[in-house]
Subunit: 277 residues, 4 copies
């Protein structure tokens, strides 16, 4: 009676966590309110007559911190969001009713890793390195994987190894590697649903250039309605060498927000069991 | 080459969202910092030279607000967390290093709905109603479902229909329906991994009694290490009548916190295709 | 060599604190983010090699909570702030550059208490009671005090005694006493610099009416540029019977905000020494 | 009938603002939650039927940001706060009931400026420079001012001119000038009530040393119960050359907190009128 999916799950699945742990002091863009976590109540602060006590938390944070997803409401171009929606009118009473993060459906989709750093044979691409269409195509070919409609494509530059260093991860003087407008266009042509990378802004940042110009954001979010996932941890995924997998991502359903912290997963049936054809 | 799980996903899955939308003003326990969302930047506030602009968010919140999961660090009894861990020592530099929410593994597990309100033939159980072991067993029998080791069991009292009313959902004078110590013990005996309900505190709250006594929390979190999921939206799940399904829950990986807002899913292969036996 | 003011101060002054203590759970308007205070670090969390440790705080709050002052940017009418400033244009990059709280000069001014509850011989005016011009004039006459240009006038309805009760202080079903449009006009005609009261919204709130209509705010903030101070504690001031005094108020200098929590003082030379004429 | 203080105030006073403007992005210690201000509601978001609308704010912040005062609960030494108070026991239910910032009385006191940079003839002391007892005494002598019991002493290193530069103000590689243990002891011997400086930590920070050792904090807060005021703007005060004045400081009355943002004032009777002897 068990449905097919539950059958797979009960047979055992392997799961790789693609999200960064949220910690006070982790690197993040200074454009966004800083992640902070504290304990208003600790055990012992208030003990109930029956000997029990509860501890709790307070969080303040931007939504574009840690591993996170950009909603279509995040970026506008010439006053328009995706689909020609007027960016001013999309905001009603301080909430992006149109294209807010609450409009992103939970994802259980085909995920594809393009391990560009692996293909190039480097620990990580250099700051400011532009991942070209040639790089993307050669990487896919080397891995024997194709990018298809509705997929979620994750691009590994290797820059994620610098997350633990703090400020250098954000780029600043060094810049950050990533695709730029041509790579974004290549992804958009393939009809992908979402894209992600192991960097803070998904796309290439020029050395010293900061976030002043984000052409890939324009192409993806505004022109094509493709979600962007940033600050992924792709090291574990590269280590096991999965080129395709089930990608699971469930954004918080925050009404009217422009993004959400997320903790995406890559999942496979444990046995390496293949689908019945 | 596609693994079995991806095969199912690409064949199409049905997904039911079990999480509440996070909105300013939604009902929550006054013990926890209030959820608030605002837009520090809106489109047009700062337009870049290329015509693009970005909007962003600020969130402040407790972690036990909206649909959320309790980590084992949330409740102690006589100064001990689950497994006899000293509750004071578990907190290092203001973080629950032991039993914090970062220690909860993402869940892809068998989920079971016990629709007690459906079984009793009521829109919702009354405030303060205790869901008994008899209720649980009769509900399972009527649905033809069993509760097994490692499952996530969701108990529907129907009280979730009151979420939209605001303050009454939290209980106060009326109390809130739910299991109490015996129902919690029954669940624990079956070796479940996590439990959930469509109420703010999972367990029965006596009329006017507030959160002063939470015996089911003690049984589940402290004595048996079973996670508790609260403020679920179980109306959609009851409407489709799924008794078992794949339950997907990915808590935010907040280092040292006692809980996390979550957006759990119930998932089935679309075709109603059954697992190969 | 000592200047005259320092001479007075060194001779001794009496100070009455007119501000409410900021505490988690205190009554406040639900329109504003809730005040919350927690300790991210407590002593012992991180002890330095020399044996020292530091504790610190995290605050989240609206600015119109506790005793607070309204900047002119707080209220608009027909799209205009005070002086005909366009309310949309006054906000630049998410800050009220014009009429923000950073434009309020610190106040050392003549303060006048009008103890209306004392004049009427009641512990407090009833919820929804409108303090009339006749009440204001009779109170001033009874106290032998006049209201002059540049003064800060504090109106005591006695409602402040209910602050400790929590929700009833905010009004809701009962309404809240205070002046309405005629009282506000009377104050404005006298050229006062700021006004205050021991209630949450300064002006009369009709029973069950909430904050839907605030005509005194329009008269004072928008039409006359007169600041409003709310949720004052006037009990100590009434107890000593000071009708005039030096009023000291220093708002936080928050760039672009619409208000600030404040802790105003009433001060007099201790000896009751009078100014040289 | 006017009391003497009001007489002075009505005769006109000159006021110098010693507080920094609170702005998103200003330099602050990374040990404390970042100051952030946003507008949840702007004019136009919700217009009432009568044509009025209200804008409001959300603030998240540490208390040791911007110009601020340290309460005695801020620092402990060998587990003790000032007066031998046990640092663990002083914290009840997550609030420093003893020595919290709510225990600091509003200050109207004699203020003394010691313009060390002026005395040394430098724009600002170098990073890491220790202001010695000799410097303090020579500065006082040059200015012809003495330090007395109950005074508030403000030490100008000139480092405040770097506030606008951002990160360099905090010190890091350069260190920050200030007194160290001997200067603190000299101040304490004179029985001062509070001390302040134009730097982020009041005392000297060694180049590259961060906040690891704060001996002046121990001497002042723990051993002598003397409050510390940090990140003052002393440039205006030095420009007018006031050596003594009335110092006005009113901390927010935050129950149980370890500090508060403040906006202190230096005040003098305008006429330069001297006190009657």
């Amino acid at each position: 009676m068990t449905d097919a999916m539950l059958g797979i799950v009960q047979g055992g699945v392997d799961t790789i966590d693609l999200g960064r742990q949220l910690r006070v002091g982790m690197p993040q863009s200074p454009n966004h309110p800083q992640f902070w976590h504290t304990l208003p109540r600790r055990h012992g602060d208030m003990v109930r007559p029956d000997g029990s006590s509860a501890a709790n938390d307070m969080i303040t944070t931007g939504t574009h911190v840690g591993t996170h997803i950009d909603a279509l409401a995040h970026v506008s171009f010439d006053g328009k969001l995706h689909g020609g929606v007027d960016a001013a009118e999309a905001c009603v009473a301080g909430k992006y009713e149109q294209h807010g993060v609450h409009t992103i459906e939970p994802m259980l989709r085909r995920g594809v890793l393009l391990d560009v750093a692996g293909h190039l044979g480097v620990e990580h691409c250099e700051g400011g390195y532009e991942i070209t269409v040639t790089d993307l195509e050669a990487t896919a070919e080397r891995q024997g994987v194709s990018v298809g409609e509705g997929d979620v494509v994750l691009i590994r530059s290797g820059w994620g190894v610098r997350f633990a260093e703090g400020a250098p991860y954000v780029g600043g003087p060094s810049g950050v590697p990533g695709v730029s407008e041509p790579g974004a266009a290549w992804l958009a042509e393939r009809g992908v649903h979402a894209v992600g990378a192991d960097t803070i802004a998904f796309e290439r940042l020029a050395p010293g250039g900061g976030h002043a110009l984000l052409p890939a954001h324009r192409v993806l979010l505004v022109e094509h309605g493709i979600y962007i996932i940033e600050a992924l941890d792709l090291e574990g995924l590269a280590a096991v060498g999965w080129s395709e997998f089930t990608f699971v991502l469930v954004p918080l359903n925050i009404f009217g927000a422009t993004g959400s912290p997320v903790r995406p997963l890559a999942v496979r049936a444990r046995s390496g069991e293949e689908a019945a054809s």
